[in-house]
């Protein structure tokens, strides 16, 4: 087969580019430690999530401390995050490792914290697990980014990242239902 000299040069450069891309992604995974959403969250019955009888923390979603780590259990359902939507923001401390465990009670949803790496599909029957650390306190947007029905566009929420010292004052909020947290928040004001 006849391959022109210019073609050979181009082919070599193209292969170099491709290997370079793969190398940067491998570095991002291994060197920087950007992990992939995978199967570590395990499976769950979507029907049980809907009925609140999974016998897991998803029956009472919110922030809990497990083995000294903050874990946020979130149930996505048409058309809200529990917690997350409306005046029940997800509250986490800045600077700490936080693991989000998200599952769906009905259809496929998305769970994306705007302008961060926290971005996962939420598929009925599966638990999505994402770990992150917020360095900056503030309010972050939370979006369902997969079409989930006629009012999909209303399915948003927020993540409130508070300085660690303030978060400690709200320890009592932890492990309470979202409604209690809201009442507490109003009392604080």
């Amino acid at each position: 087969m006849q391959v022109h000299r210019f073609e050979k040069v181009w082919l070599g450069a193209a292969l170099l580019l491709i290997v370079g891309f793969i190398a940067t992604i491998a570095y991002g995974s291994v060197g920087v430690g950007v992990g992939m959403v995978d199967d570590t969250g395990g499976q769950i019955s979507a029907e049980a999530v809907q009925n609140g009888n999974t016998d897991t923390q998803f029956d009472d979603p919110g922030v809990v401390k497990e083995d000294g780590q903050y874990v946020v259990y979130v149930v996505a359902r048409q058309f809200q995050f529990v917690p997350g939507t409306g005046d029940t923001p997800i509250r986490v401390p800045a600077g700490a490792n936080v693991t989000f465990k998200v599952t769906s009670a009905d259809v496929t949803h998305g769970f994306s914290v705007v302008e961060t790496n926290i971005n996962t599909m939420v598929i009925p029957g599966q638990v999505s697990e994402v770990s992150a650390r917020f360095n900056e306190p503030g309010t972050y947007g939370l979006v369902c980014h997969e079409y989930c029905g006629a009012a999909h566009h209303t399915m948003g929420g927020s993540v409130e990242v508070v300085p660690p010292e303030e978060y400690d004052m709200q320890q009592e909020n932890i492990d309470q239902s979202a409604d209690d947290a809201q009442a507490q928040e109003e009392a604080d004001q």
């Binding site: 087969m1 992604i25 409306g86 496929t108 939370l142 980014h145 989930c148």
Partner: protein, 562 residues
């Protein structure tokens, strides 16, 4: 001799296929501009935000499935007849057409049902607001799934007509190389057969019986995995016909000839091998899939860049050769010696240019970890409006200016509109797509009627959110104008009387480096199909096995209305 006079029966089929595709383009473009104005908040008077998703489903299905598949069927029918110099077996080819049309009508009617109050038909609400990806457990009317299945089955039958033509040609021309255009058509169809198995199993084995109530549950992860097994190769099913045009017709329009036949064959074989074992790159952020399989898909995806990079070289080299044949000199000034005033040439070149931009944004999508930043944001439709929405769609429109006269014998009408049309599309897409990419970086999601939330506000990246909205609306409107201009030219040409001599013909000049230089092994379809299946078995075997190990329908979800 004009194509329509040499092959009148095949010409009639191509005309029918193009007609359906153009109608789908018109309706799809109308739905597109409604969305562009609605989601940007410029004008929300056409539909409610709940019905927006019906319009969005129609836009996706009519453009990505109907416009593409029918246009490709027409182009391939022409290419096989033109390069093998024979009429296609018309009974098979027409059955394919009618099967696909039946499927299209079923799917379209069930989608439209959603904006006329979802009447109950055969015990199910007539609606299909499930978007182009129809992820279970959202449920559409069974007619939607049956329609989608028929479109796929029809395309399989169409492929049979191309293969039968080759077998007949072979018996008359033993030992000859498969002509390049037919080689490209058949390689694409082989890729299509392999990849559509995924969606066929999803729809026929799971979604149709589930939507009819014959089975209670389906596994949402398994069905979407089967969808994406098909969902990336379908992209190449759109792209490879555009490549066929760029490799075999565009050099001629530039005044030259293809640079290298062997390299063109290598590129198509590479697509056959690598198009399918990459589907997990659409599921990078899916739970339930071990990251190792995502890494394999990422590596395959990156190597899939190679045939496109080779294409960039060959197409540019061929066009440059054409310009030099026209007397051009200099390193870059040859660009001026090209027929930019001819819509077929200009459209293909602008489509290729935008495809390069789309290729680069696609590399971000393919980058497993950087993809977190843009997954399911409006960046993604920004990307694929450059690829399927321009590389394919603008090439299809441009080559119609060249091809429709040959399958009708009628001269192209409304030449001024035709000459301007590719530029209108290009500008509209540049305006809309750049804003969509930037809005995606700001985290603004795709597939939503109103991307504003009570809980927080998006902040612009390299521009303000308001400015991006205006650009998306203006760009979307220009694209609608571009589609309308194309349809006016086509309608006027198709309705005109025949007369005068055509200035175009389907003769394809011999490549500079011809088929004699390309190894015969490239034409060995059995070998390449076997390797393609092996790569798929590696990429998909273990993860699919683990998904079905716990039961085909578990973890299960019953149908949920939207």
């Amino acid at each position: 001799m004009v194509f329509v006079d040499s092959y009148p029966k095949t010409s009639k089929l191509v005309r029918s296929e193009f007609l359906v595709s153009f109608i789908a383009l018109g309706i799809g473009a109308l739905f597109g501009v409604i969305q562009a104005l609605h989601r940007t908040g410029v004008f929300r008077g056409f539909v409610s935000s709940a019905d927006y998703y019906t319009i969005l489903t129609g836009h996706g299905v009519l453009l990505a499935l109907v416009f593409t598949t029918f246009f490709i069927a027409g182009l391939f029918t022409w290419a096989v007849a033109n390069s093998l110099e024979r009429e296609l077996p018309h009974r098979i080819a027409w059955s394919a057409f009618w099967i696909m049309l039946t499927g299209t009508v079923l799917a379209a009617v069930s989608i439209i049902g959603g904006i006329v109050g979802s009447p109950s038909i055969l015990g199910h609400d007539l609606e299909a607001d499930v978007l182009f990806t129809f992820y279970a457990p959202m449920k559409a009317h069974p007619a939607f799934y049956i329609g989608a299945a028929l479109i796929i089955v029809g395309s399989w039958v169409a492929g049979l007509a191309y293969f039968k033509s080759l077998w007949e040609w072979r018996s008359e021309n033993p030992g000859e190389r498969i002509p390049l255009q037919t080689f490209m058509v058949l390689t694409t169809m082989l890729m299509w057969y392999i990849s559509t198995i995924g969606v066929a199993v999803e729809v026929v084995a799971f979604l149709i019986p589930w939507s009819l109530g014959l089975i209670q549950n389906v596994d949402p992860l398994l069905t979407r995995t089967l969808f994406w097994y098909f969902g990336h190769p379908v992209v190449y099913f759109w792209l490879m016909p555009a490549y066929l045009v760029w490799y075999t017709i565009l050099p001629k329009l530039a005044g030259g000839r293809l640079f290298s036949d062997p390299l063109a064959r290598v590129v198509f074989v590479a697509f056959l091998l690598l198009s399918t074992p990459v589907g997990f790159h659409h599921q990078y952020t899916d739970p339930g899939i071990p990251s190792g399989y995502k890494f394999i898909a990422m590596t395959n995806t990156m190597f899939l860049l190679l045939p496109s990079l080779l294409t960039a070289f060959t197409v540019v080299a061929s066009v440059e050769h054409g310009a030099r044949q026209r007397g051009a000199k200099g390193y870059l000034s040859w660009l001026r010696n090209l027929p930019w005033g001819k819509p077929a040439f200009a459209g293909c070149m602008l489509a290729g240019l935008m495809f390069a931009a789309g290729g680069f944004s696609g590399m971000i999508n393919a980058g497993m970890n950087i993809n977190y930043l843009i997954h399911n944001t409006i960046w993604v439709p920004g990307h694929f409006h450059l690829t399927v929405g321009t590389a394919f769609a603008l090439t299809a429109m441009a080559i119609s200016y060249w091809l429709v006269p040959q399958i009708t014998g009628k001269k192209l009408r409304q030449r001024t509109i035709a000459t301007l049309q590719p530029y209108v599309w290009f500008v509209g897409m540049a305006v809309m797509s750049n804003a969509m990419h930037r809005a995606g970086l700001a985290g603004i999601p795709r597939r939503t009627a109103e991307p504003t939330y009570d809980e927080f506000a998006f902040e612009g990246v390299a521009g303000t959110v308001g400015e991006m909205r205006i650009q998306i609306a203006i760009g979307g409107f220009l694209l609608f104008v571009g589609a309308a201009m194309f349809l006016i030219v086509m309608a006027d040409t198709l309705l005109a009387r025949r007369g005068g001599t055509l200035s175009v013909n389907g003769h394809i000049p011999e490549p500079l480096s011809g088929a004699d230089h390309s190894p015969r092994i490239l034409d060995n379809y059995k070998l390449w199909t076997a390797i393609a299946l092996l790569l798929i078995a590696i990429a998909y075997g273990p993860p699919l096995a683990s998904m079905v190990a716990d039961g085909l329908f578990a973890p299960g979800s019953p149908p949920i209305p939207v």
